[in-house]
Symmetry: C2
Subunit: 441 residues, 2 copies
Amino acid sequence: MAPSGYRGRLREVLEGIGAEEGDELEVVTPDGQTFVGYLIARPEYADEDVITIKLRNGYNVGIAFTEGTVIRRLAAGRAPAFRRGEIPPQDPSLPRVALLGTGGTIASRVDYRTGAVRPAMTTEDLVSVIREVLELARIDAEVVLSLYSENMTPRDWSLIAERAHQRLVDGYDGIVIAHGTDTMHYTAAALSFVLQRPPVPVVLVGAQRSSDRPSSDAATNLMGALTVAARSSFAEVCVAMHHWHSDDEIAVHRGTRVVKLHTSSRDAFRSVNAGPIALVREGRIEVLAEGLNPRGSEDYRYEPGFDERAYLLKFWPGMRPSVLEHLASEGVRGFVLEGTGLGHVASSWIPVIRRLVRDGVFFGMCSQCRFGRVNMNVYDNGRDLQAAGVTPLDDMLPEVALVKLMWVLHRAHDLEEIRRLMLTRIAGEIGDRSEPVRLRP
Amino acid sequence: MAPSGYRGRLREVLEGIGAEEGDELEVVTPDGQTFVGYLIARPEYADEDVITIKLRNGYNVGIAFTEGTVIRRLAAGRAPAFRRGEIPPQDPSLPRVALLGTGGTIASRVDYRTGAVRPAMTTEDLVSVIREVLELARIDAEVVLSLYSENMTPRDWSLIAERAHQRLVDGYDGIVIAHGTDTMHYTAAALSFVLQRPPVPVVLVGAQRSSDRPSSDAATNLMGALTVAARSSFAEVCVAMHHWHSDDEIAVHRGTRVVKLHTSSRDAFRSVNAGPIALVREGRIEVLAEGLNPRGSEDYRYEPGFDERAYLLKFWPGMRPSVLEHLASEGVRGFVLEGTGLGHVASSWIPVIRRLVRDGVFFGMCSQCRFGRVNMNVYDNGRDLQAAGVTPLDDMLPEVALVKLMWVLHRAHDLEEIRRLMLTRIAGEIGDRSEPVRLRP
């Protein structure tokens, strides 16, 4: 059948060589890159002058058709033809998974002329990326938001949490949330505090390279996330992303223990001060952590609400404490300080902190070292900071502490209650001292 | 000979069992810990009721003598006696190294009752910690500062740089700077910009555990630093600290490529977006990087001066841009933003940034991901931020970019000049794109 969705000069060339959907093509770009794969119908997210082929590794790749692009037909249809929007009837015994799109690279198309990325995801788009999902679960996809994740705010976390909560109440077997990677770890922490001990997994997933690029991790990450959502024995708010370099291993990170630790690599997401809670390999889930909330948990609590009057501030040499007073005068009710080493800021900050604490402002201390826990009992300065009212936050990640403080401020109305809640382990955000954690060599 | 420097009940017990310096003792603490080692004279830094013994691994350990501590004399003097302040004449053909103390755990004693740490270092103290240094170099030690490193400011960087410069001009064969670890990487960056292409190495060194604790890394780190200062073929501003878990390997990091990446582990310092430039193992230096500034370089330039009107700010979801305007109104001339992912902040920040850039305020972008480089050409938002005047800072570490901006602001008087200097590679702070760098698994 003639390939659908293509227009203009690209369509003329495809017709000229008699290319049909499913035919094996070779596409050579003007700069000499060669791609071999099966022609598929233009997906919704691709431009009309971008030819999309399915590579042998299962990825789709979109290649801009420009002056000098050469397309050859190698062989007649060998792969099943993929038609836009066509989804075969699914096995009703499969688990039901709700897929919530919020934007980001995983659910986006790249405009090859400007490099712009626009979020776009339907179940059809998803299936056009990777047909194997149909064997995993019955998927209901919906777009909740279409945002670059750096534009997300606590109000967006609440929106996502509310929609996920509805889907939990609806009885889905799992929730997958497709999310931009820039702030996915902040959202994961937020959902961890709002959706406590959920009955089924809530899995955030992203991609470091968009699904129409050859090296995209969208398909494998999504498959891993869907596997967890549909079949895991545990029900945690978690993040599923590539594990190290492996193309066939997905790491599952606890929502309060994960950060984006590399700007661009596919294995950018890492559990910090803890290991991943599970790995997904060849469709099998290997559980690594103990004491996880089990699927079917009846202790589910929906605890929505964030107060944005929290502030995360990274300390550095020469930084003056007057900024604390300014921010408090603007209404900030609590600070998470990213101190140095075991949890320090300059001694010159102590009088300002003491004064603000007396006014009821919370100060929590994390470390900018990224790995390890604070210990404010080792040095004079740490002791003095504690005496001034600073609360050491153990091995909580600064980003997680910020999100938690927003969540706590919504609930607690005096300093003692804020401190008590900040030090109460709500969603695995504070480490178990019995398990020593090391930087991996 | 009778052990010197001990007082009170401890002295009575030592005299009672006839213990002399160099005798092998067993000390059992009330909580059952057992230490075996040679009795040495009380070092300057130890309290009078703390017994100091030299363990077989060469470390000194100070043990608080309290009710219930048991001391046994196992054998008569087997080790050479160490007397406080006694330094034998040194071989005049050895390299001359200047050791500058600035404070920190490496040159400190612990008060076992309060946990307080006070800096204290003389050549004698140093020798009491590790006598082998005498075989490496003739060492002139002096105390430049006695600060917890979280209390350091750019003025202190200038003081340290000036003293190191004098010692370089004096013709020393190497400089070692003992420094608290909390902000050692900031100081290392600062010295890298001020002491350009020095004729001999300038090596910062710290300790994660003080030298009178059993697991102290002070001795091995100092030996590694002195080895580099005295004998390396390269002359770089660098940091020498434990390499991973190994007790017999010291990593040498470029001063503009290193951060403290763990709050407490001995291998806390890591080169980021680069490898260490050298390793020291069993007294031998293995050079790993190419193109290093050679010992004997005649291109040395002393470029002092920092302008503190620079600001490092970490972005997070929901953070409002009004803080930029407040800080600019307080005199800030340039910002380093720790953005998300490839270098983003919320789109809502763009109008504020554009306005401030028009007023001549510099904005540089780094990533909070810690590893990897920014790329502000991939997404619309990155392009819009660049159009508003934000300068992407490649793979420069945010802490290094802050220090560099202070150094640049002292020299550049308009925005174009600031941008040009920020993107000029001065001291290895911007990566070479040809060497791919990976997170280690």
